[in-house]
């Protein structure tokens, strides 16, 4: 117990320990703030992706799609673990304002609003139909033509605060959407006199998913409309994906495995039926695997960040080691005294370790406190910096980020505090051994003889 008392006295009486405390506290502060913000951003991104996709996807990469999706949906609906299912067609086409020739390439998604807004959170991102998603594909301009929903960044710009000005919604706009129907073998299919199928849609709403690719390059139309445009409605009708939402207590892995088993049996049962070979291209994936191409870069950034923090921690360890060496060197006489009055090798180690733990605890407390205060006011600080100097951490006109995430996760705090203690313990290890090996007579005698 005296070791804690002595360690505490060393802490408050030695100015050099302040350097160690400040270094570790600064590291804790930086790691805490950056990890909280990064975890918030990655978490937000994953949440939005999950919300956009649902829990599980039965999909093919092929634009041809796969048949008998409706039958498999019936199989899924009869499963107690499945909450809801929705057929989807995802394809590419051309879109142009009605009557104009400047068509641009675009990704088009066909969904059934009734089912899709139950499976996914897409309905919550609508602006005009958030409370009534069933009428999402009713054209604003002309009730006689079908409506389409546009990714919000296709029609509105974000201002510097990340907000959209909805007064500029193109409520009267109509669009000509052209698709290229494919046969079941993947060849272009002639429709009438050409290979292009064009239909006029009226603007019905915008969708704000918070995902840059979807908000900036995706148009949603009714599933039946797109199926017709793509020539996929002729029997056996085709879709490119089925999105599934599981019941609340069903785990992602378990649910996906179950669906996989169901699909394998279903595909086997369909053998010999027309276009059944297309079923072989279908994969069953949970939402994370389905979207790994977009999630992976974020996760790589997280790994890069962790590597960076390891470098930060190594620097901190080095500084703590140097500081401890300085302290131990200046305290060899004390160590000699302690050993002269009977302190053991491990007792001296314990004293230095206690000292290191105290530095770690104080530093972690200061770092977390400073980090907590900074995170609490991070958006106000950024707002002030923007108003005063025009500086923004992320340009809101470019990045789909609203507020900087500052939700503190206690798990992160616990890990950082443990790491701070570990850094101090690692840094003190060599000096502690050196101190413990000190021979009392070497430090206490007035002269060598």
């Amino acid at each position: 117990m005296y070791r804690w008392v002595l360690a505490l006295r060393y802490l408050v009486s030695r100015r050099v320990t302040l350097i160690a405390v400040l270094v570790v506290a600064l590291c804790v502060f930086v790691v805490f703030v950056v990890m909280t913000v990064m975890n918030g951003l990655v978490g937000q991104f994953k949440e939005r992706t999950h919300s956009f996709v649902g829990d599980c996807v039965v999909a093919t990469e092929s634009m041809v799609g796969f048949p008998y999706y409706d039958r498999f949906m019936d199989v899924l609906r009869s499963e107690p673990m499945v909450d809801s299912v929705s057929p989807v067609i995802r394809t590419y086409g051309l879109v142009a304002l009605a009557g104009r020739q400047d068509a641009v390439g675009i990704e088009i998604m066909g969904i059934e609003p009734n089912s899709h807004f139950t499976v996914t959170g897409l309905g919550q991102g609508l602006h005009l139909h958030r409370d009534d998603p069933q009428t999402a594909f009713c054209s604003q301009a002309d009730p006689n033509i079908p409506g389409c929903i546009l990714g919000i960044d296709l029609v509105l710009n974000r201002d510097s605060s990340g907000e959209y000005d909805y007064r500029w919604l193109p409520l009267k706009a109509t669009y000509d959407i052209s698709c290229f129907p494919l046969t079941a073998r993947g060849a272009l299919e002639r429709i009438g006199t050409g290979y292009v199928n064009t239909k006029r849609f009226g603007f019905s709403d915008v969708s704000h998913t918070g995902l840059a690719r979807e908000d900036g390059g995706l148009i949603y139309v009714h599933f039946d409309q797109l199926q017709g445009l793509c020539g996929m409605s002729r029997p056996p009708a085709r879709a490119t994906a089925i999105h599934i939402r599981f019941k609340p207590k069903v785990s992602l892995q378990h649910g996906t495995r179950q669906v996989e088993g169901l699909w394998d049996r279903f595909a086997k049962d369909c053998q010999g039926m027309p276009q059944a070979d297309l079923l072989g291209l279908v994969r069953v994936q949970d939402w994370k695997t389905y979207r790994k191409s977009t999630i992976a870069p974020m996760e790589k950034e997280q790994i890069a960040m962790i590597v960076m923090f390891i470098l930060v921690a190594t620097t901190a360890v080095s500084i703590v080691l140097v500081v401890f060496y300085m302290i131990v060197s200046s305290k060899t006489r004390d160590i000699g005294i302690l050993k002269a009055v009977g302190e053991s090798f491990w007792g001296v180690i314990g004293l230095v370790v206690n000292f290191a733990l105290l530095i770690g605890l104080v530093s972690a407390f200061l770092g977390v406190l400073a980090g907590w205060l900074f995170l609490r006011y991070i958006n106000q600080i950024e707002g002030w910096l923007f108003a005063r100097f025009g500086f923004q951490l992320w340009d809101r006109t470019i990045f789909s980020i609203g507020q900087i995430p500052n939700q503190i996760q206690m798990g992160v705090v616990a890990v950082i505090v443990m790491c701070a203690l570990l850094v101090c313990l690692t840094g003190c290890l060599l000096p502690a051994i050196r101190a413990a090996r000190t021979q009392p007579v070497d430090t206490l005698r007035a002269s060598p003889i």
Binding site: V5, Y10, I337, R445, A446, P448, I449
Partner: protein, 247 residues
């Protein structure tokens, strides 16, 4: 004097040398010494004669190149690390020329430090009350009752040495070893310290004191001379002064 004639400590053929660069300097060349329980022995010698080295070896702070030290018949060089720590902590009390107090602790804490060595939280809670009580008594007896919460740097040299003596006595050691205890003090202050040693001796404390000062050595009941790395024939002093009681 309270000497019962039984040997508490016996040094047999102690040899010790130091390396100064590439030169080996012999310091002790076969020291033989017996110390009776309750004896107050002064080891007298010139600077560099190896007095302190001998005392460190007797106290278990250093090891001889050859020879052995028997404490109550047990060879301390065969002690395990744990036994050696226990020997330093409970059997021997050390008083150094330069006091060697911990600046971060106050007088009271410095004195009860040896009683707290090796005690965990439970040991601390169990023993603190007794230890503090004992430390307060000792501090009172060395005349520093009004200084218990002062730090070492707030005390005079004589006061620091009194604190060091109180600390050395904290665990009621069998043997008190003093290395030039008055060497850093003026004569009058040194006399006060010697008076304390005299009182300790009369209360039965076995003491070994090294000094280069004949007048200081005369306070002991027996003096031996250390010269050329060996103990020369000594003599018994008639008496020691001071009647104050301590321990």
């Amino acid at each position: 004097m309270n000497c019962d004639g039984s040997a508490i400590l016996s040094a047999q053929g102690l040899v010790k040398s130091y390396w100064l660069g590439t030169t080996q300097v012999p310091v002790l060349r076969g020291v033989n010494l017996d110390l009776a329980r309750g004896e107050f022995l002064a080891i007298l010698g010139a600077s560099g004669s190896g007095k302190s080295t001998l005392l460190h070896i007797l106290g278990g702070l250093d090891r001889p190149d050859k020879g052995r030290v028997l404490f109550n018949g047990n060879d301390i060089s065969s002690f395990t690390a744990r036994q050696l720590n226990d020997y330093r902590n409970r059997r021997v009390g050390f008083v150094f020329q330069f006091y060697h107090l911990l600046d971060e602790l106050d007088v009271l804490e410095n004195v009860y430090l040896p009683a707290m060595i090796g005690k965990g939280l439970v040991g601390w809670l169990t023993h603190k009350r007794t230890a503090v009580q004992r430390a307060l008594e000792l501090i009172d007896q060395v005349g520093l009752g009004h200084r218990i919460h002062h730090r070492p740097w707030q005390l005079s040299g004589g006061e620091r040495q009194r604190v060091a003596i109180a600390r050395a006595l904290m665990n009621k050691p069998d043997l008190l070893l003093a290395d030039e205890p008055t060497g850093n003090l003026d004569w009058a202050t040194g006399q006060g310290i010697l008076a304390l040693f005299g009182a300790l001796h009369r209360s039965g404390q076995t003491i070994v004191m090294v000094t280069h000062d004949q007048r200081v050595a005369s306070q002991a009941t027996r003096t031996v001379f250390l010269a050329d790395g060996q103990v020369q024939p000594g003599h018994t002093n008639p008496s020691s002064s001071n009647n104050s009681k301590i321990g």
